[in-house]
Point group: C2
Chain length 454, copies 2
């Protein structure tokens, strides 16, 4: 048994852990980061990055096809997969490790377990944390309790994002972000995809029009979308998988992808050693300190359940690091379910803050106004003819934005303007003077304010 002492020990080298470790080491603290699998985390290897590598080529071809005079060819599937392999660096973290080394962050490979307050065990080594421990272990795909599901060893995001071959047919369980993105990616790459959503619509937390437009786009490219479709039993034989629905219908496919939520990675973390239990996400305060823990313990990223989004994990990592450093401005200001978020399907869905429904449910005197993303002069040239909608949700008492949603081709970066308006608490009567350039598609803001009556 050896012992090493650092200012801070971070468990988990995904985006949140890396952000915290980098910020701490950049301020002169000694930091160790513990990683059992790959430095870079789920997002880099099995999440956001490879999924975008699978989705983007078809979207670039589609956009060129919408521009008269620009000639676009078919998709080169082999090149798409090869590029995806480079994006995940063939599942090696050799590109990430030098970043840690350059910052003097000690990487300890293995499973990190909390042995006592401010002490983390990795194999035979005890890492002592003078100032604090940050848990950033993330989440894994949850398997719903469907008869036979676990035994069939279905794909989760871990297999779907890095598959070497495209199955002739794919069943997707779950019509949330991952389910919709992977259904569209695989259909575009040549698979015949069936998407099963147990709820009343896809993308349940987003505006209904966003779900409708994504569903229509999936159907248009041939995805068999089944709404309120409950799988009750799953089998696998040498030909593939068979799924029985509640109404008795049998569906078969070459492969099955489960995209039915995530569970926080708190198992076997040694939480009981600091007075906690491993049931559900770690509860944190606004500085990301774990509530009720002995010692100085923080939790950032998916493991705290606040917002299962890479950028929020990184944000929380920065906040936790700054709090450990004793700085000011270390409270979470804007996060949780209101966080900005993007679904990278085509149409894309980029949203921040409330939907109209969630605002009203929160007791806000909310009013929504909509504009057609194709109503601007700029949409003659970009995203041309692809359906899309912009919506702002206004708090009528305070006359500020509390939510915004943009759908359409290549709208991912539109939401940041709304995020700044919301986080900056800018009155809409002032926003009216923030005049977008002609002919950019940002002029949809004018359409929104006109619709509002400004």
């Amino acid at each position: 048994m050896s012992e090493e002492t650092y200012d801070v020990v971070v468990i988990g080298a995904g985006p949140g852990g890396e952000a915290a470790a980098g910020r701490l080491s950049g301020s002169g603290l000694s930091v160790a980061i513990v990683e059992e699998h790959l430095v870079g985390g789920e997002c880099s290897f099995y999440g956001c990055m490879p999924s975008k590598a699978l989705l983007r080529p078809a979207q670039a071809v589609a956009e060129a096809g919408r521009v008269p005079g620009a000639v676009a060819g078919p998709l080169d599937v082999a090149a798409v997969l090869e590029r995806r392999d480079r994006i995940v660096n063939h599942l090696k973290d050799a590109h990430q490790v030098p970043w840690l080394e350059s910052r003097g962050i000690a990487l300890r490979r293995g499973r990190g377990r909390i042995a006592a307050p401010n002490r983390v065990q990795v194999g035979d080594t005890t890492l002592v944390a003078r100032r604090g421990v940050i848990i950033a272990t993330g989440s894994l795909a949850a398997l719903p309790p469907i008869d036979g599901l676990a035994e069939t060893k279905p794909w989760t995001n871990r297999q779907a994002t890095v598959a070497d071959a495209i199955p002739a047919s794919l069943l997707v369980l779950g019509g949330g972000v991952i389910g919709c993105e992977m259904a569209q990616a695989y259909q575009g790459l040549g698979s015949a995809v069936t998407l099963l959503e147990p709820g009343p619509r896809l993308l349940g937390r987003e505006e209904p029009f966003a779900a409708e437009q994504v569903e229509a786009a999936l159907r248009r490219t041939g995805v068999d979308v089944r709404i309120e479709a409950f799988a009750v039993r799953v089998d696998r034989d040498e030909h593939g998988v068979e799924v029985e629905l509640r109404d008795g219908e049998l569906l078969t496919a070459g492969e099955l992808l489960v995209a039915a939520g995530r569970r926080p990675l708190v198992d076997d973390l040694g939480l009981e050693a600091v007075g906690l239990s491993a049931d559900g996400p770690l509860q944190t305060d606004v500085h990301l300190q774990v509530l009720g823990a002995e010692g100085w313990l923080y939790a950032v990223g998916d493991v705290n359940g606040r917002a299962l989004l890479t950028h929020q994990g990184k944000y929380q990592g920065r906040i936790a690091a700054d709090h450990l450093l004793g700085l000011l401005n270390t409270s979470l200001v804007y996060g949780g379910p209101l966080s900005p978020r993007v679904v990278f399907t085509e149409p894309q869905v980029a949203a921040v803050g409330h939907t109209l429904d969630s605002a009203q449910a929160a007791g806000i005197d909310a009013r929504a106004v909509d504009a057609d993303m194709n109503s601007t002069a700029g949409s003659s040239f970009v995203g041309r003819g692809e359906p899309g909608t912009a919506r702002i949700v206004v708090d009528e008492n305070r006359r500020v934005l509390v939510g915004a949603t943009f759908t359409g081709a290549e709208v991912a970066d539109f939401v940041h303007a709304a995020t700044i308006a919301i986080v900056g608490d800018v009155a809409i009567d002032r926003l009216w003077h923030a005049v977008p350039s002609f002919p950019t598609r940002s002029e949809v803001w004018l359409k929104l304010f006109e619709a509002y009556g400004l």
Copy 2:
């Protein structure tokens, strides 16, 4: 001689005049709009719209070419020109006129001249304005005093944007926005372009790095860019044009495009009838009322020289209309040289507010920080590998943004977030909590704030 009476008479049916007329009629006022040429104005027929139709196809092809797996073909020049013809509706305003009609706005074709305060003459008809007259006559290309230039009848934006054929070679006088855009468009459509800039660099009002990147991109595609190149004499014969430079060098080309600034259209407007003279742009107050004029007279758009940008003309049109309507919130809040603006070359240049130089010249304790547009995860998928830079200019006393510039592929819509931050006067310590989504290119904001030290 007949007489017609309206609440408001607008001279010029370009974007500014249309915006004012639409807003006034929407509030129940009777409005006449006078147009000598085409309803829709310079921007719709000879400016922003056709120029983007000429530029965008090559950019869509380039973007597809940057995405591995997306196959892009060559440009179809005939299809580009055909699409451009549809964008300008073959120089007919039949698509714009119904918009006026649907709002009950009376269109009077002909040249409008001010006959007396609140009276406008069009042919044999006098239009009497009960509440006020709005001048929105715009601007025309200025011809610099170069020996022989006027006699050679060179192209201005009016010919370059709507040409039926691509000349084998093209000389462009002036490396501002129009010069750079048209140089790139024509080179991409097959012309051999030479761009002559008399000043020390292209795009003189933008950040130096923006000018350098655009210049490098032009050179890369074969444009012969000449900096500090003064034309002193121009001739034309049956083969084309010949330009003599100050150092004696002779350049020849099939056609010559003059893009050397604009002059306000104040000639023959009858300004002396309301106590004004027609020398230079009309001077206006913050409500767009013309200073020193008898009667109720407003000027919006290029003719007042505040900001020669379509969106600012429309903004001014809204302000003038609201002021005529007696509403609140009718002062220009953010415009003039600080207005947001986009150069639609590749790389695009999207900027708002001050450059570092202009901020320091204005006496602001300004500091600029830069980030590479390719430093985000999102840039693995969009604008991949194309050079680009983001810069924010911060007022160090007030800790707010006073300027921002984004360059790179498809960055036009990035600037609106900065516009909202500036117009909303959002402190940078608050902006730090406006977290962009992963993996969007908007994460360049994080890089900027890290570089700043947040």
